[in-house]
Subunit: 271 residues, 2 copies
C-alpha cells in the first residue's frame, strides 16, 4: 500500500513569514504522497480586530457568530490557504486549496449549544455558533486527486479548517479535527502517517523545558498524564484526535516541531 | 464533441443574496458540463473600507497594492468563492472553488506600469500593483476535473478572479479575462459557449432602455459602436475578451442578464 503523510500545521507557523517559508521548503522536498492541513486562528483574530469584531474563545475554541464566520471564511479559505498554495506552486508542488465544501470532501453539522467547562472551572451552556462537528469525509474523491490518473499530474491538497453542512452553510471546524478526518478518510487507499506540527518539539513533561519531550504516549499513559495535569488545554483535543485516528486505521501519529515534519523526533502516539 | 458552458457572473449578482439565489438555482439546473467564473469587486471594496483601505479604480480596474491584494485574496478566494461553492453543493452540484494558483490552472505575470487613458481623457502612467496579466492556462487539468473518470464523480469548477505568477505571488486578475481564459483553455476538449451574465439584458444601444438590446455584434459593427460611443467603459474589455475568445476557438459568446444564463436572449457576439 502506498504511504501518505498528512501534515497538520498550526496557525502560528503559517502566519509568520519565516516559519512559513521553512515549512513550505520542508513540505515541498518531502517525498511521496502528502496532504497539508492548516490553521489560521491568529490571522482570523487579527483581521477580525481590524474589522472591529471581538474574538471570543472558550476552552481554546472560537465562538463563531455570523460576522466571525465571514472572517474565518475569508481568512482560512482565502488569505491563508491561497498564500500557501501559491508558495507551494513556486516550489514545484502542484497544490490545490480545499475546504470541506469543495468537492463535498467534508460534511459537518452545526454544533448544538453544549455544556462546557470554562477556564475558571465552572460549567456553562455555550453556543459556539457556526461551528461544524464532522459527520463524513469523501476519501475516494481525495484519493482521486492525490493519485495520478493517466495523463494528469497528481495534486497535493492543502486543506483549510472549514466544512459545510450540505444546506449551503460553511462551518468553522477545528484544524486538528480536519487533519484527523482527512487522515482517517485515506486509510482505505493509503498507509497513513498523521503528523501534528507546531512551535514546540512535541508533548512536553515540562512546558518550559524543550528537552522534556515525552517520546511516546499510549492510552494508559495518556490517562495518567491528564490526571497529573501534565497534558491540559488545547493538547487534550489534539491527543483525542490522535487516538481517534489510530483507532480508525491511521498507522502512525506524531506530534512534533514544524521544522521536523518528517517526524524524526517528537512524541509518538500509540494505542 | 461535448458541449460546455462557461458562465461568468459579475460581482453585483453574486454579492446580493436574492440574485445569488436566482443564479445558483439556474446554474444548478443547467444541464451538461459547466464552469462558473465570478467577480466580487463590490465585496472587496466594502471589506477594504471596513479595514480602512481605500479602493482606487482607474478605467474600471482596481489598483492593487499589498494591503488590497490581501483583501482580494480573502474576499474573492475565500468569502465569495466558498459561499458559492457551499450554495451549489446544497443544490447537488459538486462544485470546487479554484483560483489560478490551485492546480496551477492559470499563470500570469505582474503588470508593468503602463500608459492609461484616465476618466478625464488625459494619458497617465499607472502602476496597477499586484495585478496579473494572463500568460497560460492548463486546460487539461480543468478537463480532468470536469469530465468524470472511472468511479469518481465529475466536478464543477467555480473560479475566483485570482492568478499566480509561479514565484509564490497571488495576482488580482479581471474576472472577464479569467472567464475568457478558461473558455479558451477548454476548446481542445469541448465545444465551448462563453456567457457573460450581468444585471443588464445585454449590450444596449441606449443604456436607459432595456428594450434596446443589440441582438448581434460583429467585428465591423463593434468598431462602429465604439466610434459612436454606444459601447464604452467596462463594456470594451468585456467585448475585447469576447472577440479574443471567438478568435481562439470558443464557439459562441453571449452577453446577457443573469436570469438568462442559458442565453435565450441577450447579445450574441460574432466574428
Amino acid at each position: 500500500m502506498d504511504k501518505i503523510n498528512v501534515i497538520k500545521v498550526g496557525g502560528a507557523v503559517v502566519e509568520d513569514a519565516t516559519s512559513l517559508k521553512q515549512l513550505i521548503n520542508q513540505f515541498a522536498t518531502m517525498p511521496g504522497y502528502k496532504v497539508l492541513v492548516h490553521g489560521g486562528g491568529r490571522s482570523a483574530t487579527r483581521i477580525a480586530a481590524q474589522l472591529g469584531i471581538e474574538s471570543q474563545m472558550i476552552g481554546g475554541r472560537r465562538v463563531t457568530d455570523e460576522s466571525m464566520l465571514q472572517v474565518v471564511t475569508m481568512v482560512y479559505g482565502g488569505l491563508v490557504n491561497k498564500r500557501i498554495v501559491a508558495a507551494l506552486q513556486a516550489e514545484g508542488v502542484n497544490a490545490v486549496g480545499l475546504t470541506g465544501a469543495d468537492m463535498d470532501i467534508i460534511r459537518s453539522h452545526k454544533r448544538e449549544p453544549k455544556m462546557v467547562t470554562m477556564d475558571d472551572g465552572t460549567q456553562q451552556m455555550v453556543d459556539f455558533g457556526f461551528v461544524g462537528d464532522v459527520d463524513s469525509a469523501n476519501g475516494k474523491r481525495l484519493t482521486a486527486l492525490i493519485k495520478p490518473i493517466e495523463g494528469v499530474e497528481a495534486v497535493v491538497p492543502v486543506v483549510a479548517p472549514l466544512t459545510h453542512d450540505g444546506k449551503g452553510n460553511i462551518l468553522n471546524t477545528n484544524a486538528d479535527t480536519m487533519a484527523s478526518t482527512v487522515a482517517k478518510a485515506l486509510v482505505e487507499d493509503f498507509d497513513v502517517t498523521l503528523t501534528f506540527c507546531f512551535e514546540k518539539p512535541g508533548v512536553m513533561a515540562n512546558a518550559d523545558d524543550d528537552d522534556s519531550v515525552i517520546p511516546t504516549i499510549n492510552t494508559e499513559s495518556y490517562a495518567q498524564l491528564k490526571q497529573d495535569g501534565i497534558v491540559s488545554g488545547g493538547m487534550i483535543p489534539k491527543l483525542d484526535n490522535a487516538f481517534d485516528s489510530l483507532n480508525e486505521g491511521v498507522k502512525r501519529v506524531v506530534i512534533t516541531h514544524f521544522t521536523d515534519i518528517e517526524a524524526k523526533r517528537g512524541t509518538i502516539i500509540e494505542k
